[in-house]
Symmetry: D2
Subunit: 345 residues, 4 copies
């Protein structure tokens, strides 16, 4: 649980807006709205995105917690309006008198929350699950993460992310051709990416109890992104085939400081930052909404059918990396807020 820097997000994919409340920010932090908007834009870009991303251009409105450009220490509210809500205002209406079956569907989409969600929450119209489980909701998280990044920036922390592989492609050129091929085939692709944070203080997280370990907290934050199915630190995914003599990041003395020549640990030892760059790698599965639809079952009569298709993307790995950056920034912002001289007396 995020205790000092915590947040809740809300909002349906085609509802009026997405909302996030961040509680626990320090006061006097400069809030650069253009920066938040630029992060939202980064989430919408990337080779392989479909039509919806082009229509929308997300911007944030702040309705609390900031005055004259600086945080008050009070909860900060972020609102991102859905640009096409006017087309959905009846379909997504709050009011019972507007009830309609337009845009409802009953065929489970494999790879989505439809099946489990409709059982858990007892829903017949699978749209009632789709609307919250959609990747659209990550826009709110990117906005929250942008605020977290403003806090990290204050402490001199920097970050970036890179795509490592998409399909068989390992360079930008190859990424594009892989995506082009998939698009032509009516198929989709996932990808592998890395997120890096630098200049972190030593000792964020702790080794003393499992739920204080930074790697665990980051793994939760990244694995809970829709479509992420694998999370690793540094060279961790290869740790089963590299012997200890090569894997561990040996230490050397230089000008009275310790240095390392490798970073297989990805900047975390014993559940704490060790001063090396924090390197988190993740795999995004391919987008489960395909033009060439998947076999499935219609929940209304338990007959076989194919899955519902909405205009969608071929590949969204760049966006996913932006979301992962945002999520990790939130974990780090909380750790920064919790990290203090009181850890020893």
């Amino acid at each position: 649980m995020l205790e000092k820097f915590r947040f809740l997000t809300a909002g349906e994919s085609h509802g009026k807006c997405l909302t996030a409340i961040i509680d626990g920010l320090p006061a006097n932090l400069e809030i650069d709205i253009e920066f938040i908007n630029s992060e939202l834009k980064r989430r919408q870009q990337g080779y392989g995105r479909g039509g919806r991303m082009k229509i929308e251009s997300d911007t944030v409105e702040i309705t609390s917690g900031v005055r004259f450009g600086k945080t008050l220490g009070s909860p900060l509210t972020l609102v991102i309006y859905n640009k096409d809500f006017e087309n959905w205002s009846k379909i997504m209406s709050v009011n019972s008198e507007d009830e309609t079956s337009e845009k409802s569907f009953t065929a489970y989409r494999p790879g989505h929350a439809d099946y489990a969600g409709s059982i858990k929450y007892n829903q017949k119209d699978l749209r009632n699950i789709l609307e919250r489980s959609s990747a659209r909701g990550t826009a709110a998280e990117v906005a929250v993460g942008a605020v977290a990044k403003l806090l990290l920036k204050h402490y001199g922390i920097t970050w970036n992310s890179n795509i490592i592989q998409i399909g068989q492609g390992k360079t930008e050129e190859e990424f594009h051709s892989e995506i082009d091929k998939a698009k032509e085939a009516g198929d989709t692709l996932g990808g592998k990416f890395e997120v890096i944070f630098e200049n972190l203080p030593v000792g964020l997280g702790s080794h003393v109890q499992w739920d204080r370990k930074l790697d665990g907290k980051i793994a939760q934050a990244v694995m809970s992104i829709p479509a992420v199915k694998s999370v690793s630190f540094g060279n961790g995914q290869h740790g089963y085939k590299i012997p200890g003599s090569e894997f561990h990041d040996q230490m050397y003395a230089e000008n009275g400081k310790t240095i390392r020549k490798t970073n297989n640990a990805g900047g975390v030892e014993g559940g704490m930052t060790n001063g090396e760059p924090l390197v988190v790698k993740a795999v995004m599965k391919p987008i489960p909404t395909l033009k060439t639809p998947l076999n499935t079952v219609d929940s209304s009569d338990m007959t076989e059918t194919t899955a519902h298709f909405e205009r969608s993307d071929t590949c969204a790995v760049e966006a996913c990396a932006v979301v992962a950056e945002a999520r990790i920034a939130c974990v780090l912002a909380n750790e920064i807020m919790l990290n203090n001289p009181c850890d020893f007396v």
Copy 2:
């Protein structure tokens, strides 16, 4: 945060005992102490373990929360005494008058918590970090997990785990020869393993908020195991190279139920169990304590040296899988406790 089924563990590696308190168990659950002890034994076994594991034979004492073989609903305390404490009673004494520098050390061990922990908690004697960051502490977690498993067993849930790869080895025979070679070289090995839970109800976890997603909670639980550096669900680690048409687990109708022929998602869609086996894969890095020691720095004078070596293991992947099973069982026990008819009205 585990709210209904939660626990804290405590204890130093060479202290008097490890202790765990579990809060939030149901009442009337039968507690089979032999089962808990057999789980502790599983953690101590496996090809490649060193001397210490052979000396010890962990058993648990329950000092609260159970009466006449059944839980009371009150907190359950588990105590595991360290068998060789008599040799360490002065070195690990609680009392200031026993202070001694015996067994103290100042050369950071790469791959361990020593460096970050000593800075965070302002310790000169690195034993003060080693003692809590040691893998010894996972014994308490295995005991807690065994209690969680007794709860899962009550609901008909089953589990098992398998080693997938160690070094280049992919079969049991090859595991052993890889370990033998590493041992001879004074080196260590990690490994890749999977943990599987079956017969879980559909809908554990939720898609509605990032910190309710089951995959995130499990990723945290497994990634926070010392030495685990990578966590994946199902075939997730390969999700970057398999197109959507092949990756997603298509659904078919059979006797009025949905079935699947694949389980690439590892039993989790939309942050919820989907009725398929839960398959979690993880990579353990090689043990960082090597007979052929690593280069490092002595914190007392910032000179280069080699890392402290204590009698240790060559490979502990089997134990790590047991710990992962235990950790996942705790997450699932909490979800079972939280899962109820109130999710819809």
Copy 3:
């Protein structure tokens, strides 16, 4: 910590709006917006309220979590716009270019958060503290509580509240005359009130760990209302002068059930509901903003002065009781969500 039914609120007193996100609601719960608005109206009423309450007429907008009149199980967002924001849009602007000293002040108001808040959050303009610590924020909590009440209503739970004493007044007529006198004197009054919930299931809360006790959770919820300084259960505030033989609620058998003839315990024994009405009593201190201002210190030059006065109320006990009802409803809604057959197996 509220784990299943949890929420965050946000918003400055003169900002654009108040916002609340509720996470953890069940699906399919009917949301009666008129009921929420009627609760907001109750908060604004009561003998002794000043001008601002008359101007405003709060209504809620729901922007997520509800479709066609029913909850989706996803987070519900409540927005209450501040009706006079147009007069404050520059003074409370988010943008740094609008910075102004209009409406800023530096004289600490005794009884408010000004002094401690400005030190903690390093603020010179005390408005930066006033805006979040104002009682205005309780409107969001009343809206959240109204949603909680809709859940409780589903389970047949009922509630009401009563004013017990204001000044020396013990009847409605006397309340009014006390308030009239105070108003004339430029003074303010607090009051004592009770909140009652009936038809609660037996066993909400638990005796097994301090932070699971229902009375503790309710005490936190009520004591954290601005101006509440005392919370009691049943006849608890007199428990020091009534002997055990008279205080405890003896039990009798009637038609195969247990009954009680008294309810000094206020419906809670051992940290759990015992089937009797839940009776919570609280004391609200007098409103600290007086027409006849209090002595204080100006933080800008540390000279003595008198406290800043904004148009205010003479007595707001009725509103405070509505807020307390809402807060307790939230605690109970969470307990209902946590309470399930899994407590024993």
Copy 4:
């Protein structure tokens, strides 16, 4: 939720021992075991205590988290053995083969957890509820609070507590005569007491979100003590009859600092410490186990009977005040750990 300084306690009243694990302590804090034991002794004393308190003399054993007299930053385990366990080892046995009905009972004791607890946890033998709901468990909390006090002491914070009223008695002499009379009548008495902490930093807690308010957290901690039914700050319980002009603690300038001449707020304004002494008042109800037993119902056959009597105390208000001190110390220790320069940047 205690995030930095958190703990769980465990143990049955007649079990082998009470156990507490504290997680989140700083490193290098000196742990004075004699101080912890003296606090345990204070809990056992006071005029009006019965036989059991005289038999026992609680002492604590620390089994983790401390080395050579100082904390390691790792979880600290406290164990308090029950001195008369040998007489109860069969009755409270963990093993099913020892099952016995000795000391079992089925008549609900009014004022205790028996009724609600047995329904919630589905228990026939009410001893299975009594054992955890007994006030015995507060010994573990006093030990935890003693460790918290050692942390507070490090920051120069001091504390004390006073009995205000018992029955009609308002002086120590009168307390004794009231207790003597009650004892003679086979009756019991509660009492009103206050706990005071001084030299606290300004700004512990926060006004920004309800669950960050210090008064709420303290109210929860104190109200969850068995037998406490009323909690107030400063002169809060009289706040309904004192007008604003007299209640609020006006501020004056003295040597460039603000001073106050009253402390009706009890040191908390806006949910934060304001630099004045923290004054918490509470009412303990009379002990519900009376020599002249209360009417009740036998759960085995739903017939009327009288409540089970175990050797007990006439009045335990002094002990209750010690427990309240301990509980508040835990809340404050957590706030101290959370309080840091990061609250503003």
